[in-house]
């Protein structure tokens, strides 16, 4: 047996058992930790599949940011809620639905797929040839960046919208709670932060820039910046309240807005959205990527804060115009 195959088998088995353990875990904290481990190993699986871009995103966002979000969410639940999953009497159909879903549907779908996938005449190259041929006029030297920001930029524009929408959703639900009430930060943490912060920011810049020719790009760089922001928050930094108004909102929307503006201008001038002029393509992609990095970082950091900033303005106190039906 080849060593690579053995490695793959071990990786697969570990992934499946981790997934099972985290689903079966009744302790939520343990489940989250297992989830983070699962994400990191999944990133490794992507590397084995020859998709380093996906691996980077999986490690940074799937394991890192999602893990942090889950841990923070867990911290905000009261300890009583955390220790036990809420138990509610289930109806007969609800009792039935979980075993049916887990016991019948998922295995049958898996078996069918496993049987059928053997017939798949995999077009291994996909659209590789096509992408390589047009790479020179795409404005990027890295095929993944060329696909994401030029050939299928319409998808990426909408994905940026998903990210912004997720944040607006979080903000619409609640206001951010002050999390770190104790002011004494361990000296080790603040010293560590001073050392690590500049490095993280530098490395984010490198990731962003190298997206032009090797794996990297706005999402991965933005995730690193978020890690820097998280570290700063843990060391006691908080965004001054004068920045949490329009200024913060501008940074949050900038990535999507610039992309949208490029789409609007190209639609107006060339009749097709995101149809870049060939000689401007490189510059436009760089512009979109830089602004997107900042916005991704801002959005993920704001998501970690868990709600909209505390507004000092009292809500309008005038009586409602509703006239109640007194009958």
């Amino acid at each position: 047996m080849e060593p690579a195959l053995i490695f793959d088998l071990i990786l697969l088995l570990t992934l499946i058992s981790l997934a099972w353990l985290l689903l079966a875990s009744t302790d939520l904290f343990r489940a989250v930790v297992l989830f983070i481990a699962f994400g990191l190993l999944l990133a490794l699986a992507w590397v084995r599949l020859g998709a380093p871009d996906v691996a980077l995103a999986e490690a940074a966002i799937g394991a890192g940011i999602s893990g942090a979000l889950l841990l923070i969410g867990l911290g905000q639940l009261g300890s009583s809620e955390r220790d036990r999953c809420p138990v509610r009497p289930l109806t007969f159909l609800q009792h039935l639905s979980a075993p049916v879903l887990i016991g019948v549907i998922i295995p049958s779908v898996t078996v069918i797929l496993l049987l059928e996938l053997r017939q798949l005449q995999v077009v291994t190259s996909g659209q590789q040839g096509l992408v390589q041929n047009l790479l020179s006029i795409s404005g990027s030297d890295h095929p993944v960046t060329a696909v994401l920001l030029n050939f299928r930029a319409w998808d990426t524009l909408l994905e940026k919208g998903v990210l912004l929408l997720a944040l607006i959703t979080i903000w619409s639900l609640d206001q951010a709670r002050p999390r770190f009430e104790n002011t004494d930060i361990p000296p080790l943490l603040s010293g560590f932060g001073q050392l690590l912060l500049p490095l993280l920011i530098l490395f984010a810049g490198v990731l962003l820039w190298q997206g032009g020719y090797v794996p990297g790009g706005a999402f991965q760089a933005g995730a690193l910046l978020t890690a820097a922001m998280l570290l700063a928050t843990l060391s006691g930094y908080a965004l001054p309240s004068r920045w949490t108004g329009v200024a913060l909102r501008l940074v949050l929307v900038a990535g999507f807005l610039v992309f949208l503006a490029v789409a609007a201008i190209t639609l107006l001038l060339r009749g097709e959205p995101l149809h870049y002029p060939q000689r401007l393509a490189g510059g436009l992609i760089l512009l979109i990527e830089i602004v997107a990095t900042l916005s991704v970082a801002a959005i993920l950091s704001a998501a970690l804060a868990g709600g909209h900033p505390v507004t000092n303005l009292p809500p309008a106190a005038t009586p409602t115009t509703k006239i109640e039906d007194k009958s």
Partner: protein
Amino acid sequence: MTELFLHQQWLIWLTLLPLGAAVAAFLAPQQARWIGLATALLLPVCALAGILSVTLTHADPITAGGWPTPLGIELRRDGLALVMLAVTALVGFIISCYALGYFPVHDRHYDKVRYFWPLWLFLWGSCNALFVSGDLFNLYVTLELVTLSSVALIALEGGKQALAAALRYLFIGLLGSLSYLLGVGLLYGSYATVDIALLGEMISATRLNHAAMALMVAGLVLKSALFPLHFWLPQAHTMAPAPVSAALSALVVKAAYVILLRLWFEVFPALDTFAVGHLLGLLGSIAIVWGSLMALRQERLKLLIAYSTVAQIGYLYLVFPLAQPETMAAAWTGGVLLMMTHACGKSAMFMVAGTIHHTAGSDRLSRLAGAGGPVGVLAVVFTLAATTIIGLPPSGGFFAKWIFINAALVTGQWWYLPIILSGTLLAAAYIARVLGWAFLDVKRSSYPVIPWVMKWPPLVLSVIALLFGLIAYEPIQIALIGAPVHGSIMVEMTP
């Protein structure tokens, strides 16, 4: 001059404008109402200009980014896209007007209200992006946008129940999307393209493709709430604020169905869809009867309307068994017609329910007593909108059912006849129950003052729903532009 105005790019502005407006409304919450209103005024104009440009000129199809398929993403401007964009523009405009009254400037829940406009404009833009997309992966992205904005809008009402309904909707939406995406992945693995038109030419009846079809259809059926996967719909549509309920029933459920129509008639015609078609027809039939019976049992108006949506979705799924070779065009057109007219009628009904809830503090049917008096316009709106739900002539619902019955008889599937008839009778019964309360001779001590934007705009929708049968010729002609079906809509019976 004509080149300037008659250009297909109007159809793309229908996506870019609301998305940009959503960002603007998020940046300037104080002006959000006016940004929303301005967008709502602009979009019907864009839709009209786009439709005129497609019907009057013969421009080349466009892609996003200007790259030809399979590299780029094709943007559709066929009949299905056009009529859905038009209906969305019309219903969206009325919903926006209504929301101006529903979310007043000075509200106790200002914090919640300020997020309505960005979220609603996001939903509107994403629906439009979905309707023009001709690419399976791009459809997935737009579907995610639609789902996420719907979830946020449902949760906007606040409270435990609304949050629970929103969360359940999110899980259902993710499950449906993932199932769909898995199917897209299988197709891409085999054919190295996700373009609908290219896939339609290449696809062959292999077992792998059938697995892909099963996964994608299952995901979309879950998202469009076909019986028995409708269990999430009544709660989600009832817990949301009224303008949101209207948008969910009129547009969001249809979004998944539009993708299903595209798949069925454009991607998978080469596959053996006999059994799946009849299964969908069977589930649709059960949905009609079950949804109507449940609607008849409800004590709350919004729940009644939500279950009526479950029943109406059942009719939409009759399209698949009825689309036999000779009745292909008939079934397809009937489905599209029903989508359009149901969107108008159902959103008007939800707005009326919202107004009653807003003013009476509850939407229990008993609170309707005497509503037919001085606030009778509500009862009128409801009655007119209900004609299309029941399927009375000359509403669009009547014509859609007529086409279905014709197709059922021509193809010898007579058993759909009693299903459609019983659905009609049950619908008449539950509507009559509502009207019975509304026109009860009860003198009220006081009558609520309702802002005019909450009274009159829904009337426009219900009048359109009522008269849709009379003006159906033009919309059907537009819908048939570049349609994947050919042939006559009403087929002669051959003994």
